[in-house]
Symmetry: C2
Subunit: 628 residues, 2 copies
């Protein structure tokens, strides 16, 4: 394989966060979310389904995507275990893995639903039945478990499952031309190839990318084999599963948003590993189309609940936004891979935007209440829930948070890349040895980041510090001296030298409050303004305002964003920096239609980070406020 | 009966419009719409259904509300005939009436669907089956036909049908407690009582008003008699048919908008005729709730297509507005009755608003293309259609236009009321004789109205000239002398004297361009502004603009509404006064989210009356423009 990737990931086990923003979230994830999800897997019958014990008439009829919920928990638990030893958790994992080993069919086939409930329909409906998706998640879990524990049981189970998939589906004369209706296995197979060194898994990922949407159309073939009319497809269009045309002919992000992100992430892996610049150009085009026309300001994606996905350009309402948590997580995965492949800061910008806003809003501060949808406004009808019958989001955010430190840094032969900032420490392997760093920062509440070199190889090495796209003014000092002529490459400040222990970099990212205005073609947001600071999108919650009816509260933008003052409250919402600024309470008296523009009494407004909304009383919320 | 009504209607046959706005519409209605609807009634099998000739396997299966489409055409044709003799039309009416006479069951029962297709289900499902609604429309048609021709055949058919209804439904021990799922027969029975002098028809209307929504609930009783589960009601709530509680307990306009309007109109008739101030107070409360929270600026009503009706307070979007033509017509009918009952100008204001905007938009200038929905914005997806499978709107607007001059004036013992203004002439019976008037005006293009007394009784008489709610500055001269101390009563200027032939009144209604701003609780309209002049709501059509993408066109309101200049174009759209004013072309380049407020290059915008939109190329439209 040709390695196009500019950057290698730095495993989460080599990065420790000790900050006030993420470290508590990771700890809550470990101590509250993981047990909570584990308990839900048990209580809802998902684990029992592994023993094929369900019979007609019993409660909790298994579903064909249940394995993915278990798999994401297994992956989350393995990632946590790697960073935080826990013998009880390790034993629990072994027990569940043992059940999977027992469940597996001699052929390698693995899916608790089709093995237990509906054996005659194995691989009969790739379009809808999620078998390859479940195998993909189990592969990811097995790779994480192997990395965490060194144990091979799970990895070998999933190699057998993957071998079965490789045998069933491919270009060969005796193989079917199938590919998953819910993409995910592509990126999982790339991980499995890396973990095992077996190129065939990578080739299978490439096959799935290339076979998708080809004619004659596999989903029509398999529908006819089932005796179904292909035209009776419930989703009406193969755009729903990004299989309307081959990926290389796609120019618009369409359909189910999570599926789209996982497909693009896997395809980016394939393009990077094969040096396929044509495929990479397709992905860059899709990326641009997404961020230019179909992205919520929170990094959420997917407007409609009907297809859990994309609709039309500029169809980006606030209250009616779907913006599934898993879709924002998928965007993080895709952005991570585009960043690794190209080394361009725009992808880190998007990764950061999604992570700090549209992803993090998906889990409550207590770690046991979740959002599936992440609207950008609420009349008070939205509340977090402990679980969902379609429970993809809770274990997905659990695995993301368990492995979160792995997103912060990257390495290339002669460089260490700092993508995200938080207080902590890291040791990063480079060609010449290992660079050990510690960081001192209150990011994202403050833009000051201190980096201390703890140990360094004796060779010249570039430290590449990301200057976020939102940051207009910044300065940097190295060992106290201002750096006047630092090079900014693709959004990264390049500091190249022979680093020595004790070297100190002080980066100051200007983090003024910003007003953000929507594109005029976003009809639903005409006349509205959002408030951001650093990587955080802010929102109004009714509970914080004198005027709780948020439609009557207009932000007074006349004095500029500087009139909105940051104020750190250590006690509120786990410790957050609020913004307080001028506003108007609009007059509600009078008729529907008036001869004068809206006016109102002077008042003020308090904004909190969108990521922590809906952690108190049920109340109204707005990301996009009215503006005077 | 106690007559509470302050005003008697002046029949349309006593008022002739010779203006450039309405007279051509009435003529097109007579010469194009009536033949067009007649042809559609034939082509779609509606008339053939009267002969009970349909058999399984034939096209055009009859529907249980088809009689209402025929009835509205019969009424429209009769109203036209009364003002414009037409022997061929009269003969055609006689022929169709003959078919109805032959169709009628010996019991008096009359409905072409249940007589022909489904005889066993007569009166089995008042909630859904529209039988009383159809009888109501046929009664209205028969009353109009009798008034137009003096012939009694149709009236007698419908008296027999009404007698059958009176016998079937009522408070008596042997009667059912039923009432219509689609209201309409209430107001029709009041008309029938007036036309025949038979009080029992009025009492039956009163019964339907009073029985509605009582417990035990009739729709539950009849559902169980059919063997249906009442809880399986497809509309889910009896609010859909305004039968969730008795009308006297209702405080919110709910459900299907046309049904609501017809119910309230009939109830206003009943309240007026019986001096029922309690019922009138309920209706006044519903009116206030409608205009304060659930009314489109066009006089359209009913937000959602799901229930063809009302949703929540302030849920008044533009592009997604349903605003069915029939609902605006229904609002005209209700407003007409509230006006007649109370003599308060606010009801004439609403009648005018609905008529000149949300009703008139429902028919194209050629009279053969219609709107069922009347959205307040369009991306170009809306186009008029020649007919609808549910074809309530085309014949409804036909009958409204055929009788339109009857809305202009009212009389009471000592007063003649001028509600609406247009060039024309009228002779109005009052206690002391007949007052004949002619009017000279270009209304609504200009606010000058001249009134010349052509003949007058010798007794003192008040001319009451409406000063529209939108009019801030006005002046009046009588025989050339300014009137300094004229009395304004309930929105009407009262000019009382002994009028003599040749007396001349000159009313000047100031008609500056106005900006209209939405209530802050209307989420969808934040940051938007509408433009009005006189009774007309204006709109932007893409076809008139340099910048055809209307989302990128912002009205520049900074110089005030006076910067929008009226310009009469005799050739455009049948002759309309356009408005032209300053605007900005917003920059579409750049990303979805921007750090600067929208700005744009100077341009101008052209606005046309909403009533005449969608008469040229298919194009974007906005009533609510962006404002700078």
């Amino acid at each position: 394989m040709i390695r196009m990737q500019a950057l290698r990931p730095v495993p989460h086990t080599r990065v420790t966060l000790t900050d006030a923003f993420w470290a508590p979230r990771i700890e809550v994830n470990r101590t509250a979310t993981l047990p909570h999800v584990r308990q839900q897997l048990e209580a809802t019958g998902r684990l029992a389904a592994l023993d094929l014990a369900w019979r007609i008439g019993m409660p909790n009829k298994p579903h064909h995507f249940w394995d993915s919920d278990i798999a994401k928990w297994l992956e989350a638990a393995s990632l946590s275990l790697a960073a935080h030893p826990d013998p009880a958790l390790e034993a629990d994992l072994d027990m569940i893995i043992e059940r999977y080993a027992n469940l597996q069919h001699p052929s390698g086939y693995l899916n608790s639903y089709f093995l237990g409930i509906d054996p005659s329909r194995r691989w009969a409906n790739l379009r809808d039945a999620h078998e390859l998706y479940c195998v993909g998640h189990l592969i990811e879990a097995a790779v994480a478990h192997h990395a965490a524990t060194g144990k091979r049981t799970f990895l070998e189970v999933m190699c057998r499952a993957a071998d079965h998939v490789c045998a069933e589906f491919g270009w060969g004369r005796d193989q079917r031309r199938g590919y998953p209706g819910h993409e995910e296995i592509e990126l999982a197979l790339v991980k499995l190839a890396a973990a095992t060194g077996e190129r065939r898994y990578f080739e299978q990922a490439r096959y799935f990318i290339d076979a998708r949407g080809q004619q004659p159309h596999y989903y029509e073939i398999e529908a006819r084999l089932r005796g179904d009319d292909p035209r009776a497809y419930w989703a009406k269009t193969y755009e729903y599963v990004q299989a309307h045309v081959p990926l290389r002919e796609q120019t618009t992000v369409v359909g189910h948003a999570v599926r789209a992100m996982y497909l693009y992430a896997g395809a980016t892996d394939v393009a990077a590993a094969t040096g396929d610049t044509g495929l990479l150009a397709v992905l860059e085009g899709l990326w641009k189309q997404l961020v230019d026309t179909r992205l919520f300001v929170t990094g959420g994606i997917g407007t409609s609940g009907d297809n859990e996905g994309f609709t039309r350009d500029y169809d980006l309402p606030d209250e009616d936004a779907y913006a599934e948590t898993c879709a924002a997580i998928g965007l993080v995965f895709w952005a991570q891979r585009m960043l690794a492949t190209t080394g361009q800061g725009q992808y880190a910008d998007m990764l950061e935007r999604a992570l700090y806003n549209g992803v993090l809003s998906g889990v409550g501060l207590d770690g046991t209440r979740f959002f599936y949808e992440n609207p950008l406004a609420s009349g008070g009808q939205h509340a977090r829930e402990a679980w969902y019958s379609c429970a993809c989001c809770p274990p997905n955010i659990a695995r993301l948070l368990a492995g979160l430190p792995g997103l912060f840094l990257g390495s290339s032969d002669d460089s260490v890349w700092m993508h995200l900032y938080a207080q902590g420490r890291a040791s990063v392997p480079v060609a010449a040895g290992v660079l050990s760093l510690s960081t001192q920062s209150c990011y994202p509440w403050d833009g000051a980041v201190g980096v201390t070199v703890e140990a360094a190889p004796g060779a010249p090495l570039a430290l590449r510090l990301r200057i976020p796209g939102w940051c207009v003014r910044w300065r940097v000092r190295v060992n106290g001296a201002p750096l006047e002529s630092a090079v900014l490459e693709n959004g990264y400040l390049v500091l190249r030298r022979v680093w020595r222990a004790g070297d100190r970099i002080d980066l100051q990212l200007g983090m003024p409050v910003r007003f953000t205005y929507p594109h005029p073609r976003i009809r639903a947001l005409a006349g509205r303004v959002a408030v951001e600071r650093g990587p955080l999108v802010y929102c109004l919650e009714g509970v914080d305002q004198r005027e709780r009816d948020l439609e009557l509260l207009a932000l007074d933008t006349s004095a500029g964003p500087a009139a909105f003052k940051p104020h750190h409250d250590h006690h509120l919402l786990g410790g957050v920096t609020l913004l307080r600024g001028p506003a108007r309470r609009l007059g509600a008296a009078g008729g529907l239609y008036r001869s004068r523009p809206l006016s109102g009494d002077v008042t003020d407004a308090t904004l909190i980070p969108y990521a922590v909304w809906a952690n108190r009383a049920r109340t109204e919320m707005r990301v996009w406020g009215r503006s005077t």
